[in-house]
């Protein structure tokens, strides 16, 4: 009796998903296809494609995602290397390294932006070390710093995943490396790194982080007021989310709902395409 109506068990789930997931996405797609006359047309997409600020945002999103993901991976693996060494107080360091994950992204953005941290650092560099001031408004400064702050927040996630992969590796693998006289770094390079990078879990986490960074908003927004204006689109820190936000909340653009929906659908599509591409690349690098 129960097996005949098994599909009814999925109804509440699909009802909830329809409300919170399918309906907003489908409504966005519908809004993006509605033109000024109310008819279905592609005018919003053609306006979006013709806008240089949109392509600038796509480019910045891709660049920012790649930079912060690879920095996070590098930093995370570095932290993993430190924690795989048998040091005293390993538990304390593990807890300390995980702390950035607990900080809200907007706080990370504000902490790493000019007024919070850099004023003190510049004062120290200039008055104590007698070095010239760093130009905080140059892209050669703010772009790496922005990417690094995102990497700083999410490196502990990479570290935790790598540590869990290492813990599930048989101890004999490391013991045999030690028998051959491998140093700590050589063990890391020849044993730990390939095991971690070939793991599908790690590959999935890298792609997930990449997709998340494509939607980055808080950290670029913290810098937006400093390097450009908080209301002008096409600024050098405009990721797609920030571009959408400005179009939506700055009154001068007159709330172009159709264009905003088109950009939102593009963000969805760009994230999916970039993630699929990234997954293929990461799998090829991992060797599986």
């Amino acid at each position: 009796m129960a097996s005949r109506f098994w599909y009814l068990f999925f109804v509440p789930l699909f009802a909830l998903l329809s409300l919170i997931e399918f309906y907003p996405v489908l409504d966005s797609i519908y809004s993006s296809l509605v033109g000024t006359g109310g008819s279905l047309q592609l005018s919003n997409y053609s306006a979006m494609v013709a806008d240089a600020a949109f392509w600038n945002s796509v480019n910045i999103s891709v660049l920012y995602s790649m930079t912060s993901t690879f920095m996070a991976l590098g930093l995370g693996l570095g932290l993993t290397f430190v924690l795989t060494e048998n040091l005293r107080g390993r538990g304390f360091f593990e807890a300390l390294y995980v702390t950035p994950l607990a900080v809200a992204p907007i706080v990370v953005g504000t902490l790493w932006s000019p007024p919070a941290m850099w004023d003190d650092i510049q004062a120290f560099l200039h008055f104590v070390l007698k070095l010239p001031y760093l130009n905080e408004l140059s892209p050669a400064f703010f772009f790496p710093v922005m990417s690094y702050s995102e990497a700083w927040e999410w490196a502990p996630l990479m570290m935790l995943v790598a540590l869990s992969i290492i813990k599930s590796t048989p101890r004999e693998v490391y013991e045999s490396a030690e028998l051959y006289g491998a140093s700590g770094f050589r063990k890391f390079r020849k044993v730990t790194l390939p095991i971690v990078m070939r793991s599908p879990v790690m590959q999935f986490v890298i792609v997930l982080r990449f997709m998340d960074a494509m939607r980055a908003f808080e950290i670029p927004q913290s810098w937006a007021g400093w390097v450009s204006s908080t209301t002008a689109v096409g600024s050098p820190v405009d990721t797609l989310s920030l571009f959408l936000y400005k179009l939506m909340f700055v009154p001068t653009y007159n709330f172009p709902v159709g264009l905003i929906s088109a950009v939102a659908v593009s963000l969805f599509a760009v994230s999916l395409i970039a993630a699929a591409f990234m997954l293929g690349l990461v799998k090829a690098i991992g060797g599986r």
Binding site: L63, M66, L281, I285, G287
Partner: protein, 145 residues
């Protein structure tokens, strides 16, 4: 050994990254140039008889290294033109009543002349020659420290 597929993948990522970075730098430089540019308006005012015109103003003051968007409007009844030989820029022919816009960046300080290139002045009724009156001086000052 690292496989060829891995190298190809790494190369692919690097290529995408470099292309992205190049586009970012180009866009940023173009934005900075546009933001730091100044608009300068120049008119060609008609004289009497037609064809005898002059530039107004006939003295321009620019800053070295700052991009200039020169907007020239031809208020005369014949075609004219403007050129700054020292910077190698020319507007081309400006038909009567039209406005043209071109940009350049003065890369050296000093006083330079601007005038009408030969052949720019064209009238339907016959030849016109207003080159004697159509001249001016551009003063380029060094950028402030």
């Amino acid at each position: 050994m690292v496989s060829a597929k891995t190298w190809f993948a790494v190369g692919g990522i690097l290529a995408i990254y470099v292309l992205s970075l190049t586009y970012y730098i180009d866009y940023y430089d173009a934005q900075q140039a546009a933001a730091n540019s100044v608009d300068v308006y120049l008119s060609i005012v008609t004289g009497s008889p037609p064809g005898v015109a002059s530039y107004s103003p006939d003295k321009l003051s620019l800053v070295e290294g700052v991009r200039v968007n020169l907007v020239v409007s031809n208020g005369d009844r014949v075609t004219h033109g403007i050129a700054i030989p020292a910077f190698g820029v020319s507007s081309g022919a400006i038909p009567a009543g039209d406005t043209v816009r071109f940009s350049f960046t003065p890369e050296m300080s000093g006083n330079f002349t601007f005038d009408e290139p030969p052949g720019s002045c064209a009238a339907s009724g016959g030849a016109c020659d207003s080159r004697a009156q159509m001249a001016g001086i551009v003063t380029v000052v060094p950028p402030p420290r």
